[in-house]
Amino acid sequence: MFDELKEQGMEKLAESGLLERLEKLKKAGMDKISETSLPQDLRTVRANLVGRKGELTEVLKSVGQAAPELRKVLGQAANEVKEILTQAIDQKNEELINCASCFEGAADITLPGVDFTSGGLHPITQMCYDLNDAFRSLGFEVFSEPEITSELYAFDNLNFAPEHPARESMDTYWLKGHDEESGAKRLCLRPHLTGASVRYLQQHGAPARFVYPGRVYRNETTDARHERAFFQYEALIVDKDFSFASGKVLVKTILDKIFGMDVEVRMRVGFFPFVEPGFEIDMRCLVCGGEGCKVCKHVGWIEVMPGGTPHPNVLKAAGLDPAVWSGFYINIGLDRLVMMRYGVDDVRLFHSADLRFLDQFK
């Protein structure tokens, strides 16, 4: 633009020195704008350059004192400079806002996230609820009975021989004041869950399909593998002429839920007073896939639970005719399952109330 004016031979313009001032101002202004890196600095730059009290305003004031024939040209030139600078500032401002932060100071993005809850269910409760969900989807009811029961329900009904060792105080926690009693009058902390099955059948009759998880008690010396209070999960189906070969559904429901995959199982001979025939149920070792390893003692199978058809004497005690009804029980130690599932090495931790342990299952 200035070159054009010069070409038009307007020598006087150059003489006034104003054009040089404008030229300088523009160059210095552009440099300043490109140097600026903070929005607040840019605001100062804007004020200094094109603001009401800025340098350009000063130049424009001088234009008024210039020769009248020059005023128009000079005014035009000054406004052009103002426009160029303003545009550059606006553009710079846009750039700065695009990459600006809402807050001042640095931030450490590797700090941990905030934990919203600090609570949780006991790992055994969790496992129990998982299994309840699986069984309820198959139409099973969830049942429970008092933890205090009688010899009648703990042993007599379940076909335990009168001299069965489990009845002795070495094994079962009998209540004080009942030592001389027997049967329905002799009370104890329940030594297993199976007694509850007779209670349910007496109340609801057959056919029946139910689970009854809970805590049971044994008078034992405790160590890393033995506890006096522990949890079991038991399920029972009773139906007309229910074949033991159908009992596998209970086993599969539990194991598939716990291990999250199709687990191969086998049923072999086992003896328990309340079942006939009785089974030990094994699952294919998941560690070695059946090849044999330390975990499965080199047999490829791991014993996971007992099961079997309710003994006719148990069905009779429940008021059912064993010639008509049969069914299938399974009973699994929840403590042991949870230990297997998570690799817990001391069963006593479950009743320790120790948050350092429980916290790990949230």
Binding site: T117, S118, G119, G120, L121, H122, I124, T125, Y129, L138, G139, V142, S144, E145, E147, I148, S150, Y153, E163, P165, S169, M170, Y173, W174, L175, K176, A184, K185, L187, L189, R199, Q202, Q203, P207, R215, N219, R228, A229, D241, S243, F244, A245, S246, V249, R266, M267, R268, V269, F271, E276, P277, T309, H311, P312, N313, H351, S352, A353, D354, L355
Partner: protein, 810 residues
């Protein structure tokens, strides 16, 4: 229990192509759990027979010898050895260089290498019996004795296992799986089972000609209910000598220590038939043998040296004067087979399980005999055992003579009989069976089956008649297990869908747990139902209606909880070692010695059983902890679908609670629990230091689940509402509930919410500043600033007039 496969094979001809894997698998699936099958030769791997040719002294060591030994190689080997019984011509066991040897018969094999011993190269090692785990079979009489097998006459270089006749496989059976199969506690019984599984012929145990007459011995069974049968054979011309190697080896392999020939024979009889036997020295038995209970004050020294103080509940074998054996468990030391015994009374008796089990438990003695009798052995087995015993004595003591046999059998056992139909078996097994199939299987197992009118009349063999077989289901099991459980296809059960399962109480308990865990940040804990006296005392719990255990886990844990507070205090105490603030809860059953009732059988009277929920909030600020715990309860009803809980001081303060912070928890009009800060006294008694603890406990049984969700939708306000906050200084006596009530009544007030309270020098002694937020809404239009100001002023005025409250800072 250990069984020798060679021994089993004496009685049954197993299929030739039967592998060990198959045998252990089949036995595990059909009968008992085989825990392990150990190849004996394996434990002696790498060892060979060596013949010592020369023995020279070592030039540089007094205790060492330099031997040349023929180990079957081209030239004899030089072996340096410290044995003291090295003799030219002697046969011994040698570990050659390169051999992998399991020291003491166990552990990982170690390679033998040539080594220089005091300057002389030794190519291998001559073994002592202890070094290769055979000390019981070849006891060394002195230290540093090498194993001498000259009497076995084997070829140098041949494998030691072969020379020793130890090519055998030992089956280890899980004893638990044998519980109801007393017939399998011996080699003959297991052979019989395998014969049935593989449909092979079982050899019968040869009978023996038995002498007539009892000699001069009489048997008096005073307790036939505990001893249904007692037989005694008297042998004369017996010597206490060591057994020949073959007999020693047989009983050693299955885990028994060879002792002397007469004793080894008694053990052999037991291991073969499962019938325990015992030998008495005839010269020590005065008069008749009495099977009776012990008398008050009687003592008995057992074979192992332990002296028992007998009780009148213990059954003993006695002569005219004294007990000579603890019946069915262990013989007496003074009257059993001794060094100078020449005449033996061999006992073959039957004892019932319960008495044996009780006495064994009382004295804490477990023997091979007691563990067999505890499983109920049938008295008929004595017949076979007598035959085996007589044959053994004849074979090993050819010059012996039987001078008498007495057999008292007052209570003969009847064989079990069962009626079962083919259709029952087919239906319950989910598989069509044929009569021939069933009869064949039962016959193989020794059951007699008569088929008539579609029914099988089954008679169990005597060895299955001690309680194991009595019902159709028992026959079903026999048939199914021999057919192989794997051969039954899985049949999915038929599911009949009737109506959805609706168990509100079950669901409510779960909702409570999940609400506390996931919304209130509490961790579920489990504690024992027996509570420690220390925490009962700390919680001032009433012990008068607590139930007690007869044999508690420890003397100070005899009481069963009627409240969860003591256990929770212990839980708090335990965790304060590692954390200073946390929240825990427990929901479980509690018991009380009252309100006895029946839930099934009217004869069964159960004590009061309730389900309680107990929680603890632990941290530094008691007032805040109290509000947190209260909030957890206050907000529970929505998550759990029940009527809300409320709070009041209606009953007496719980004894463990601080007087300033406690409330009863109300459900409708009823108090169902309480919440409070643990008092200074209780906290000290429970060892709870530094942190504060607020506890609550409610009776969950009292909560009634609602049929469905109950809250309703409320329309959103048409015009915007406005909030304003006030901080007002009140006297300490003014309660928030009163402030709230008054504030709520101010014009247009929709909601009043507590923000916080402040106590301190800025508001003065006996005063507190309470901040709260008020929300006002109008249905008529947007609130003007004049209107808002007017209501704010009105609120301040009300607070001042009613409670003498002043705006803070004003």
């Amino acid at each position: 229990m250990k069984l020798s496969l060679n021994w089993i094979k004496k009685y049954v001809d197993l299929p030739e192509d039967l592998t060990m894997e198959k045998l252990t698998y089949d036995l595990t699936m059909c009968t008992v759990e085989v825990e392990d099958a150990v190849d004996l030769a394996d434990s002696l791997g790498g060892l060979v027979v060596g013949k010592i040719i020369t023995v020279e002294p070592h030039p540089d060591a007094d205790k060492l010898r330099i031997c040349t030994v023929d180990v079957g190689d081209m030239a004899p080997s030089t072996i340096v050895c410290g044995g003291i019984n090295l003799t030219p011509g002697q046969l011994t066991v040698v570990a050659k260089p390169g051999a992998m040897v399991r020291w003491h018969g166990v552990g990982d094999p170690v390679e033998i290498k040539p080594a220089k011993l005091r300057g002389v190269m030794s190519y291998g090692m001559i073994c002592s019996s202890g070094e290769i785990g055979l000390e019981e079979l070849f006891p060394a009489s002195r230290e540093a004795e090498i194993m001498d097998i000259t009497e076995l006459g084997a070829k140098p270089g041949s494998p030691a296992a072969e020379a020793l006749g130890l090519k055998d496989i030992i089956l280890e059976i899980d004893n638990k799986s044998l519980t109801n199969r007393p017939d399998l506690w011996g080699h003959y019984g297991m052979a019989r089972e395998l014969a049935a599984i593989y449909d092979r012929k079982l050899m019968s145990l040869e009978k023996s000609d038995l002498p007539e007459g009892s000699g001069d011995l009489g048997i008096v069974i005073e307790n036939p209910d505990r001893c249904p049968r007692y037989a005694a054979i008297t042998f004369k011309n017996i010597k206490n000598v060591p057994s020949p190697f073959e007999l020693k080896s047989m009983i050693w392999r299955v885990g028994m220590r060879p002792i002397n020939l007469p004793v080894d024979i008694t053990n052999y009889v037991m291991l073969a038939t499962g019938q325990p036997t015992h030998g008495f020295d005839k010269n020590h038995i005065k008069g008749n043998i009495h099977i009776r209970t012990a008398k008050e004050g009687e003592k008995l020294e057992l074979l192992d040296g332990e002296v028992l103080d007998l009780t009148t509940a213990d059954l003993v074998i006695a002569d005219e004067n004294n007990p000579v054996a603890l019946a069915g468990i262990m013989g007496g030391k003074l009257d059993s087979i001794l060094e100078d015994t020449t005449e033996i009374i061999l006992e073959l008796a039957n004892f019932t399980a319960m008495g044996i089990r009780r006495t064994a438990k009382r004295f804490d003695i477990r023997t091979e005999a007691s563990s067999r009798f505890e499983k109920s052995v049938e008295p008929q087995r004595i017949d076979v055992a007598i035959a085996v015993a007589v044959n053994m004595f004849k074979e090993y003591f050819p010059e012996s003579e039987i001078v008498g046999l007495v057999d008292s059998y007052p209570l003969p056992l009847k064989n079990s009989e069962v009626e079962v139909s083919l259709s029952f078996l087919s239906r319950r097994l989910g598989k069509e069976l044929t009569a021939e199939e069933v009869i064949r299987i039962l016959d193989n197992l020794g059951f007699k089956t008569e088929a008539r009118d579609g029914m099988f009349h089954v008679t169990a063999p005597s060895w299955r008649s001690t309680g194991d077989i009595s019902l159709p289901n028992d026959i079903l099991e026999e048939v199914a297990r021999l057919m192989g459980y794997e051969n039954f296809d899985f049949i999915p059960p038929k599911v009949v869908l009737e109506k959805p399962i609706n168990q509100r109480k079950v669901e409510m308990e779960r909702s409570v747990r999940e609400y506390l865990a996931f919304r209130c940040g509490m961790q579920e804990i489990f504690t024992y139902p027996w509570i420690e006296d220390e925490y009962i005392e700390a919680s001032c719990a009433d012990t008068s209606n607590m139930l007690c255990l007869s044999t508690p886990p420890s003397p100070d844990e005899s009481r069963l909880r009627s409240t969860l507070i003591p256990g929770m205090m212990k839980g708090v105490f335990t965790n304060l070692r590692y954390f200073d603030s946390f929240r825990i809860f427990e929901l479980t059953q509690v018991f009380a010695d009252k309100n006895y009732h029946s839930i099934n059988d009217p004869a069964e009277q159960l004590p009061e059983i309730a389900r309680h929920l107990c929680g603890a909030f632990v941290g530094p600020d008691p007032r805040f902890l109290f509000r947190q715990a209260k909030g957890a309860l206050e907000n529970m009803h929505r998550a759990v679908h029940m009527e809300p809980l409320s709070f009041a001081q209606v009953a007496a303060r719980p004894l463990w609670a601080d007087d300033k912070l406690w409330l009863n928890i109300m459900y409708g009009e009823e108090s169902i629990g309480c919440i409070g800060l643990i008092s200074l006294r209780s906290a000290r008694k429970a060892g709870i230091k530094r942190s504060m603890t607020v506890l609550f406990e409610i009776d969950v049984e009292k909560l009634l689940p609602l049929a469905s969700r109950q809250n309703r939708y409320m329309r959103l306000p048409e015009y915007p509402c406005v909030d304003f906050d006030l901080s007002i200084v009140f006297d300490e006596k003014v309660a928030w509930s009163d402030i709230y009530e008054t504030a709520s009544k101010v014009e247009l007030v929709k909601e009043v919410r507590f923000i916080d309270e402040y106590r301190g020098p800025q508001v003065g002694e006996g005063k507190k500043s309470v901040s709260f937020r008020t929300r006002i809404c109008s249905n008529e239009g947007t609130l003007t600033s004049e209107k808002i100001e007017m209501i704010t002023k009105q609120m301040i005025k009300k607070m001042s007039k009613k409670f003498d409250g002043n705006v803070r800072g004003a």
